[in-house]
Each structure stands twice: as C-alpha cells, then as structure tokens.
C-alpha cells in the first residue's frame, strides 16, 4: 500500500511504477467507468420510465464519440476532446428527445425509435470523419474509440477525466431518491410539487456527462449501461435508493471481469465491446425470458 501511495505522489521505484502503471491505473479507470455507465443507464431508464433506455440506445455514446472523433481530427488536446464528446452527447440526447416529441407516440417505443434514428445519423457522421481522418494515427485513435478499450488509459487521462466521473457518480448518488419521483407520469410529478422538466433535464445532463466522460476515457462500451441496472433491480428491487448504488457495484465488477477477459484472452487486447456483448446479451435474454416488466 505504501508503494501505491508513493506512486500517486510520484516517488515510487521503477518496478512498482511499471506494475502500477500497467495495472492499477487501468483498474481504477475500469471501476469508475463501470460504475458511471451503469448509473447513467439506471438514470436514463428511470427518467424515461423505459427499461430499454441506455446511453447507447439513446445515441449518447455514438454522439459523444462523434464529438471526440471531430476533436481528434483537429488534433485537439485531451480536455477539448472531453468537452467535444460531452457537447455532442448532449446535442444527440436533445435531438433524440425532439424527434420523439414530433412522433407523438403514446408508448415509449417512440423514444427508442428516435434513439435509433439519431444513432444512425451519428454513425454516418462518424463514418465521414473516419473517411477523412489521417489513416496513420487519427483513424487508429478513432477506431480505438469506437470499440472501447482501456489499453491506452494512462495516469494523465485518468487524472483529467476521473474527477468528472466521480462528480457525476456523487451527484446521482445523492439525488437518487428523486429518480423514483421522476418515473411517474408528468401530471403526477407536477402535482407532487416537483418541477418535472427541470429535474429531468438535470438528471439527463449528469447521466450524459457520465457517459461522455466514460467515452473520453475508453471509447464506446456496449451493454453495461443497459444490462447492469436490470441485474441490480433483480437483486435489490426497483427503489433507486438501493438500485443505483447496487448498479455502481455490479457495473464495476462486471466491467472488471470483462476487461480482464479482454486483456488475457489473446496476446493483444481485444476490444471491450466484444466481451461485454458476449456477456450482456445472454444476461439480457435471461431477464426478458424471466418476464421482467421493463416498461415498454
């Protein structure tokens, strides 16, 4: 432990540095991203009262990676990449909601459709960015971003993005009871004395912030934000006062397992989304078969 603390203060010996650089930074990043994405997913699902809502399905992840890709294309520094990812994540969510409002859909299918539409658009933009990117280094970075990996996460990246994720996690943790209220219909929320629009937007902003920050650090990771909240609710029930902290724990553990598999299965790291897909899909099918009401 003393070696670990020395490492953070910059005076560890080189062997410790090497091990910690390789492993410790990566583990911290995985825990933060796993918790962050899962809590963002749980938040989206509550706010939209829709069990299919997740950072990926709403288009946030793809939007954020478009932002990051455009910033990379312009050789921007890391904090600009972060900001661009966040801005594009927010833009995508807002557009998804705008399209949904035009659909006048009574069920939540409208929201899912809008998310698919926006994801499609963002995919195309991402494709265009890749097309014009410098194949030597930019393209590689963008592709890395698209598939998700912790391979390139270093101390500097963690120090710049980690605090943002921590702030997002803390905010959602302390406001988690309000999420229960927001899962009710608008008229009821209003007469309960809560401003539905303001509260929703704040929650969506923080969930988007978490997603965008996660995308900055390790690219797009599928399934975690969708599946983990469902697993957690199976364990502790639907009350977000318990489901949200549980999502953070389950998300961290699941992503740690996935990342361990991703880096040990072959000589090179395989992209993380491949692993989370193989783990997430069967779990999700199981949840659907068990007949859980996912609010669609």
């Amino acid at each position: 432990m003393t070696e670990v603390s020395k490492f953070f203060f910059g005076n560890a010996n080189s062997a410790t540095k090497l091990i910690l650089n390789l492993r410790f930074i990566r583990i911290i990043a995985v825990i933060l991203v796993g918790a962050g994405l899962s809590m963002a997913g749980a938040t989206f699902q509550s706010v939209f009262n829709n069990g299919l809502a997740s950072p990926n399905i709403l288009g946030v992840s793809t939007g954020a990676s478009v932002g990051a890709a455009i910033a990379i294309l312009n050789n921007a520094p890391i904090y600009i990449i972060e900001l661009a990812a966040f801005v594009m994540g927010v833009v995508t969510v807002v557009l998804t909601l705008v399209i949904d409002s035009f659909l006048h859909s009574k069920s939540s299918i409208g929201l899912i459709l809008s998310g698919i539409i926006m994801s499609g658009l963002m995919q195309s933009i991402l494709g265009s960015v890749k097309y014009v990117a410098d194949p030597e280094d930019q393209l590689q970075s963008i592709v890395y971003w698209e598939m998700g990996s912790f391979m390139k996460v270093d101390k500097q990246a963690l120090y710049s993005v980690g605090p943002v994720i921590i702030v997002g996690i803390i905010f959602l943790l302390v406001t988690r009871w309000r999420l229960n209220t927001l899962s009710l219909d608008l008229a009821t929320v209003k007469t309960i004395g809560i401003n539905p629009r303001l509260n929703r937007n704040v929650m969506i902003a923080f969930a988007t912030l978490l997603t965008a920050a996660a995308v900055c650090l390790c690219g797009v990771i599928g399934w975690i934000g969708l599946v983990v909240p469902h697993i957690s609710r199976q364990i502790v029930g639907d009350d977000n006062r318990y489901a949200l902290p549980m999502s953070a724990v389950v998300g961290s553990v699941l992503l740690l397992i996935s990342d361990t598999i991703a880096r040990s299965i072959s000589v090179n790291d395989i992209p993380l989304s491949i692993v989370t897909g193989f783990i997430g899909v069967p779990i999700f099918i199981f949840i659907l078969i068990k007949g859980r009401n996912i609010g669609v």
Binding site: W177, N180, A187, I192, G193, D239
Partner: protein, 258 residues
C-alpha cells in the same frame, strides 16, 4: 374552512378540448362530483383545477389565493391529484410509491426520514392495503392500484383531493371500496372533487354535483336539485330514468334504449 372557487374559468388547447365559463365551488368536508359524457372536457377541467394546466383564463382561487400564483411546492401541500390508477406504470413497492408523496417536503439532495415513513404506514393502514406494503404495484389489481394512487395523494397531507374518474376502470366491489374511502375522507374534513360519468356514484357520495353539459355550459348545485332525469337525459343525450329504491333509500338511475 378551506375552499376552491373558480369564476369564469376557461381553457383551450390549440385544436380542441375547450372548456369555458366554469363557475365551481367546493369546501372542506364536501364532495363535488363532476358529471359529463366522454370527451366533454372533464379531464381538462381536472387538470386546470389541480394546477397541471396553468395557462387558463378566469380565476381559480384556493383559500382566496390565485392558483397560478402559488408555487408548485406550496400547491402540493394544499391539493393532491389522484390520477387513474390503471395508468400507474411503476415497479416500485406500495410503500416506496406512497413515499413519493413526500418528495416536495425535501430538497433534491435529501432522502425521506422516519417521520415520512411513519406517515406512509399510517396512510397504508387508512386505505386498507396493509398486506400489500412491500408488493410491487405492477402485481396489483386495478382496484388496489387506484387505492394506492389515492394513498400517494394522501401522503401529501392535502386539504383538497382532486380525482380524475377514480372508479371508471373498476368492478363494483372496488368501486364501492374507493367510494367508501372518499366518503370517509370528506367526513374527516378533506374537500374532494371527483369526475365520473355514473350519476349513481354521485348519489352515493356527493354533497354537490356539477354537470359539464357542453364545453360552454357548467351547472352546479346540490345533489337533489341537479340529479334529475331531465338534466341527465340532456347531459348524456340518452333517456335516463330514475326510480326511488326502498332498500338503498336513494334514487337509482337507469339507462333507456331510446
């Protein structure tokens, strides 16, 4: 004495669902039943009275204060809306669902406390759902959900309860359960406004009845003076005939086939 009084209340959507010139009054301990056919604007009226639509014209006075000018937090401590139970779509347990009625008593950063939890337990007892305290609303019947919805409203400790067709999706047994609860609440001094399309329910619980005859015409009066065959037949554009039932000791309304 708490009161809700509207004068010249009008509301219009961009396309339809207009109501105009509604003069309505209800006080503590009274039950005002609003009758009207489907699509006449009962829900619009309910949404105006409960502050969901606050771009109405005319005035709605709660204890003398204009409803529009009351903050939503303060309003939630005065009145509560009971939405149609069948529409509740949540996996929360009954207890956690009722607890949400305390939301505006706390800031966004805080959690419910012991006092809130004790209050919720009392209300669960009051609505008679003690056995279902930890049952998910998803696994409840329509009637139980409706009682839960009333319970959530009661947790707000309102002086006025506004209910949008609380019995429309329920079988007779559950209708009676809800109506009995309404009666009990008004006996305890709560003012109740409820909409329905069944005049028989009005004779069971109402102290006053309001008829939403058309989008432009609203009549309110005591149950005896308003609930007659002529008014009701006109209201529903169907012959409605009442007979006095000796056993029930009240008028029962039957529908003719025209």
């Amino acid at each position: 004495m708490f009161s809700l009084v509207t004068s010249n209340l009008s509301f219009s959507y961009k396309d339809s669902n207009t109501i105009s010139n509604v003069d309505l009054k209800v006080e503590s301990g009274q039950v005002l039943v609003i009758l009207g056919p489907n699509g006449i604007g009962k829900s619009t009226l309910i949404n105006c009275l409960s502050g969901v639509f606050n771009n109405y014209h005319g005035s709605i006075k709660l204890d003398g204060d204009e409803l529009k000018k009351i903050s939503s937090k303060e309003l939630s401590h005065k009145l509560a809306l009971v939405s149609q139970g069948v529409n509740i779509n949540t996996n929360l347990s009954l207890f956690d669902y009722l607890l949400l009625g305390r939301s505006s008593f706390h800031s966004i950063f805080s959690q419910p406390n012991k006092i809130d939890e004790e209050l919720v337990d009392k209300v669960i007892d009051r609505i008679g759902l003690d056995d279902l305290r930890s049952t998910s609303l998803q696994n409840m019947s329509g009637g139980q959900k409706q009682l839960a919805s009333i319970g959530r409203a009661l947790v707000q400790e309102p002086k006025l309860l506004i209910m949008d067709e609380p019995t429309s999706a329920l079988d007779y047994k559950n209708q009676v359960k809800v109506l009995k609860l309404v009666k009990r609440l008004s006996d305890q001094g709560i003012a109740v406004v409820m909409s329905t399309h069944d005049p028989n329910q009005a004779t069971m619980v109402a102290s006053n009845v309001g008829l939403l005859m058309s989008r432009e015409t609203y009549h309110q009066g005591s149950t005896e003076e308003i609930l007659n065959d002529e008014y009701l037949s006109k209201l529903y554009q169907t012959p409605i005939i009442s007979t006095f039932n000796e056993v029930l000791q009240r008028n029962v309304f039957g529908i003719g086939m025209g």
